[in-house]
C-alpha cells in the first residue's frame, strides 16, 4: 500500500488540495470529534471503553455485527457471481436486461426496499400465503427472524457486488477462455484456472464494499430481524437516542472503526490487496 500512496503523492500536490480540504473538513474533523468525545464524555479517561468491553451484551453485538457482515458478504457473492458472469460473458439483450434490473434496484433507497421486504415476508404477505396454500399450516414465522434480516441485507447489497464484479469481468477477454479450451482445458477447468483468478480483483473489491457497508447497517436488522440480531450501528443509535450517552456511543463507534481497520490490515497483509489491483 505504501508504494501506491507514494505514487499518488508524486503528482502535482496542488491538484489534491480541494479533495484533501474536503476530507479534512467533512471527514477528519468529525472523526476526531467522535474520538475526542469517547475519551471525555462524561468524564475524562477510558471509562467508556471499560464499560463497553465489560458488557458481554455489547461485545456480543459487536461480534454479531462482524458475523452478520461476513455471512451477508458471502451469500451476496454466491448469488451475485453468476449474475455478473452471465451479464459480462454473454452480453446481448439478456445481459443488458440483467444490468438494468440490477441498476434499478441499486437506485431504489435502502429504506424503501426494506419496507418492501416487510410486506413480502409479513404474516399477510405473498410468501406466507403461498406456504399456507401449499398446506404448510400454521405457516412458519419469516418476518422478524435472523433469516429475514440476512436475506434482505443480501438483497440490498447485491447490486454493489454485481456491479463491481461486472466491471472487472467485462474486461476479461473472451479469447482467454478459448485459448484455455484450445490448450486442452474442459470448461470447468478453464473457469477455475483462468476466469476465476482473473475475476479475483472484482471479488475482493465487491466483498470489501459489501462487508463495510453491511457493518454500518442499522434500519434493516431492526425492522426485519429478531431482537437478537441487533447490530452495532443500532446499538450506537439506541445509546444516543434513548440514553443520550454520547461518550458511550462514541466509544462504540471507535471500537467498530479500529476493529474494521485491523481486519483489513490483516486481510491486506495476507491476500495482498495491492497485488490484486496491480
Amino acid at each position: 500500500m505504501g508504494s501506491s500512496v507514494s505514487r499518488l503523492l508524486r503528482g502535482p500536490a496542488v491538484l489534491y488540495l480541494p479533495a484533501a480540504l474536503f476530507l479534512l473538513v467533512f471527514f477528519l474533523v468529525p472523526l476526531f470529534n467522535v474520538a475526542w468525545m469517547s475519551f471525555t464524555e462524561p468524564d475524562t479517561g477510558v471509562g467508556n471503553y471499560i464499560a463497553f468491553f465489560s458488557s458481554s451484551f455489547d461485545v456480543g453485538v459487536l461480534l454479531n455485527t462482524f458475523k452478520t457482515a461476513a455471512i451477508v458478504t458471502l451469500t451476496s457473492l454466491i448469488f451475485a457471481y453468476p449474475v455478473a458472469y452471465v451479464a459480462a460473458r454473454y452480453g446481448g439483450a439478456f445481459g443488458s436486461f440483467l444490468l438494468i434490473v440490477v441498476t434499478l434496484s441499486f437506485w431504489t433507497s435502502f429504506l424503501v426496499r426494506t419496507y418492501a421486504w416487510m410486506v413480502i415476508l409479513g404474516v399477510k404477505g405473498p410468501i406466507t400465503a403461498a406456504l399456507v396454500m401449499l398446506g404448510w399450516s400454521p405457516p412458519p414465522q419469516i418476518l422478524f427472524t435472523t433469516f429475514a434480516s440476512t436475506f434482505a441485507m443480501t438483497h440490498l447489497l447485491m447490486p454493489f457486488m454485481i456491479l463491481t464484479l461486472y466491471a472487472v469481468m467485462r474486461r476479461i477477454d473472451a479469447t482467454y477462455m478459448r485459448a484455455a479450451a484450445g490448450l486442452g482445458a474442459k470448461p470447468l477447468k478453464a473457469f477455475t484456472s483462468i476466469y476465476l483468478p482473473l475475476s479475483l480483483p472484482g471479488i475482493a473489491n465487491g466483498s470489501v464494499l459489501v462487508f463495510i457497508t453491511c457493518l454500518g447497517f442499522y434500519v434493516t436488522p431492526v425492522l426485519l430481524g429478531s431482537p437478537r440480531d441487533k447490530m452495532i450501528a443500532g446499538r450506537i443509535g439506541d445509546e444516543i437516542e434513548q440514553m443520550l450517552n454520547f461518550g458511550g456511543a462514541s466509544a462504540m463507534a471507535m471500537v467498530l472503526l479500529v476493529a474494521t481497520l485491523g481486519l483489513f490490515a490483516l486481510y491486506s497483509r495476507f491476500f495482498g490487496l495491492d497485488k490484486l489491483w496491480k
Partner: protein, 354 residues
Amino acid sequence: MQPRSLILTDLVKSYDRRTNAVDHIDLRIEAGEFVSFLGPSGSGKTTTLMMIAGFEQPTAGEIKLDGRAIEQVPPYDRNIGMVFQNYALFPHMTVRGNVGYPLRIRHMAKDVMRQRVDKALAMVGLSTFGERYPAELSGGQQQRVALARALVFEPGLILLDEPLGALDKNLREHMQVELKRIHKELGVTMIYVTHDQTEAMTMSDRIAVFNAGRIEHLGTPTEVYFKPRTRFVASFVGDSNLLEGTAGKGGVVEIPGFGPVATAATDLAPGAPALLLMRPEIFEVVADGEGASVTGNHLEVADVVNYGDSLLLIGKAGGQALRVRVPSRVAAGYEAGGRYGIRWNPANVQVVGG
C-alpha cells in the same frame, strides 16, 4: 510430434443465415505442410480457422483431421495448437505458467513438464524469461511465448492467426525466419493466416487465396504469383498490370490502344476475350526502342516513385495505364514526363485463368 493432415470438404459457415462467411471451401492439407491463408479483411480466414479449432460450428461440410471427422469433437479434445492474433497469454501466470498450462491440464509429471517447458522456451529463444509476467514482455516476446505454448504439447497441427500482425517490420521479418525454422525443426503441420502477401510468399509451401468466403486459388507461391487463376488473385498478390483484350493467333493478344502482345499462352481460341497479367518487373526499359511490336512499346512516364531498392515508373503506354518497376540505378535518370522504350519477354506475360 506426428504431423497431421487436414481435409476440408464443402465447408460452409453462415453467421446470419443469409450470407456465407465461408462459402463452400474445399482444401486438403498434407501432413507437415506450411499453408498460408491469404486474403483481404473479412474474407473468411479467421472463421475457417475457428471451425478447424472447434470454436465455431460449421453450417455445412466436413472437417477431417488425420482422416477422422471432428465436427463432434469439442475444442479441448482436438489437440490443435493455436496462436491467437492478440496472443491471449494468461496475464496472471508467468511465462513458465503459460507455457506449462497445457501440460498441467494433461497432468504431466513435474519433471517431464519442466523439461518440456525448458525445451519449448529454448526453441523460441526465451530461456531466461520464464519468471516474467506477460505484461513485462515486448510484443515480439509475447508472440514467442504464445508460440511456445501452442507447440509445447506437441499438437501436430498448429494454427496461427496473423501472429505477426502487431509487430514492426524488422521484428516481423525476424519472426518469419524463426517460424520457418521451427516448422522445419518440428516437422509439424502449420496453417498461417495473414493478409500480407509478401509474408505468405516467403513462408509457405502453398497459399490459399481467400476472397469473399471462397478459396480463389490454391497453389505454390510461384503458381499463385506467376499463374494466378483469377483477376482477383492477380491483383491481390503482388503489384500488377491487368490488360483486357482479344485473343489473336499464336498466343498474341490484341489490347485496344496498346497493340498486340505476345504471351506465354499458346492455346488461345482466336476472338475470345483474354485478360493479360504483366507484372511491373517483367519490363526492360531501353533508351528509345524500336516502337510498338508484340514484345515492346513506349511508356510515357507520369510519375517516378523511389522505393530505395527499386523505382516504380507510373505512366501510360498506348493509352493504357502501366506500372513498370526497374532496379534502382543512380545513373538511370528516369524522369516524369520522359518517354522510354519498354520490352518484355513473352514467356513472362500470363493470360489469367489460361
